[in-house]
């Protein structure tokens, strides 16, 4: 028990704790949009494309998250552009961005002289090394998300539900689509450190699936997803610390186990 209390006095653990709270909030909001709009694959494309930016940042010696942000934003805009213009099948277009980003990343990392020690932490997450400025960036992101969803909640909901009807109503659907795509890109990038590129999709989908067991109301799914996301990631973080196993993967396990248990309870009831 003393171990447990002592843990919270460590600076690195406090930061990790804040990171899980912030990640649960931003992923809870954006993930609900992604899941209900059925654009999980799109988000996967943006996430993996950002790896190209991380590789380039290693090569030219700048902060990896800046490279990731640039690549994620560009791929988000690119995917939305090709989706609206047509011509290329949407899922094929996403796969192209997805693999191009990864391939560029691999090539840039290969070209980077010497050893790239942090590479694994971007691929699989490293929540215990989250920095102070990364936490601030997460706070800013949450502030943006909350304001956008507060001001345009109904527009976002209606467009997600029936884009054609919203367009016929004279809503600026395209503007909202681009805006939301960019918010997805930022959310993905700023949460990469928590669970990593490979695993970030889980934070955007599993809490929502769990929330969806209990409600079919968009707003309530957001709130419950934040809650489940937080419970899952904080318990995953603790377990990983005490068992000395990778935190990102452990968080995924706890999220899935929670989903499975609640689903089972719901079935048996």
């Amino acid at each position: 028990m003393t171990d447990f209390i002592e843990l919270f006095s460590y600076g690195f653990f406090q930061k990790a704790l804040l990171a899980t709270i912030f990640a649960s909030i931003s992923c809870g909001i954006i993930g609900t949009y992604i899941v209900t709009r059925r654009i999980v694959f799109v988000s996967g494309g943006i996430t993996h494309a950002s790896f190209g930016g991380i590789g380039l940042a290693f090569l030219i010696g700048v902060e990896p998250l800046i490279g990731a942000t640039v690549f994620a934003l560009l791929s988000a805009l690119g995917i939305q552009f090709f989706t609206e213009k047509g011509g290329v099948r949407e899922d094929s277009s996403i796969a192209i961005w997805w693999s191009l980003g990864m391939a560029l990343g691999v090539m840039f990392v290969f070209l980077t002289p010497g050893y790239t020690p942090n590479l694994m932490s971007y691929l699989f997450g490293s929540i215990l090394t989250v920095s102070r400025y990364e936490l601030w960036a997460m706070i800013v992101l949450i502030a943006i998300l909350l304001s956008v969803f507060r001001v345009w909640y109904r527009e976002i909901l209606y467009i997600a539900f029936d884009e054609e009807f919203a367009r016929a109503s004279g809503l600026r659907v395209s503007v909202f689509n681009y805006l939301l795509m960019m918010l997805i890109a930022l959310t993905v990038v700023l949460n990469i450190r928590v669970v990593g590129i490979i695993l970030i999709l889980s934070l955007l989908t599993i809490p929502q699936a769990t929330a969806n067991l209990f409600t079919r109301d968009f707003r309530k799914i957001i709130i419950l997803a934040i809650l489940f996301g937080f419970i899952g990631s904080i318990s995953g973080l603790m377990i990983s610390y005490f068992l000395n196993i990778p935190s990102g993967a452990t968080i995924i396990f706890t999220l899935i186990i929670m989903f499975g248990l609640l689903r089972l309870i719901k079935l048996l009831k």
């Binding site: 109904r154 909901l157 009807f165 016929a168 109503s169 004279g170 809503l171 409600t215 079919r216």
Partner: protein
Amino acid sequence: MNEMNFVKPLIHLNQVTFAYSESTVLEKVDLKIHEKDFIGVIGPNGGGKTTLLKLILGLIQPSSGKIYFREDLPRHKRPIGYLPQVKHLDRKFPITVLDVVRSGSMMRPYPFLNKSEEKEAAMQLLNNTGIGHIYNKAIGELSGGQMQRAFLCRALISDPKVLILDEPDTFVDTHFEGELYERLKTLNEQMAIVLVSHDVGTISMYVKTIACVNKTLHYHPSNQITMDDLSVYNCPLQIITHGEIPHTVLKKHHSHD
């Protein structure tokens, strides 16, 4: 001459052509939608029915030709209520019936003063349509008929001058179908209606005029349509029979008087 001809149409499609890069979907279509019109739009699949609706709704722009709206109508919003084909919608989407109906108010030229006025209007429509008691259910929990009712309410909350329905008779029980058409008859006293259907038999009992769309548009100023007409207009339709209806459909009529 019918005195209607002196009244300006609410919507006027003038020589409207729509083409994708290679293929022409609609060619030089002329259509006038007047007040109190009830136009049944029929035609084969892929004949351009949905494209015609999308043009009227402003979802796509004509490649050539123009669509005019009567001068007194609000310019910033088209005064149209729209009931799309529900099969394209995601039934698992987490949205309540009330919110679906409220979403239709985006289409209003003059928005509601506040949220409670909007909610009240939505509830009143739901009650009038007989689904007021399930306003808080998720849209996916509804039966086909209830869902169509909800979407009809969404189309009506904007107080439209023209109501457009795209195959509202699919996925609906026959009970609601009859009810829907009776409801449309009443609504037609306040607004023009454009109804797309593949079921010529049923709609010919309710509509006043028929537009046959198969790349070109042939306007038939009566609700009686004969087999000869269909072949003349190059409208290879499937006539769905409903008991006695075929006699009505096939009743000989004396050409354009």
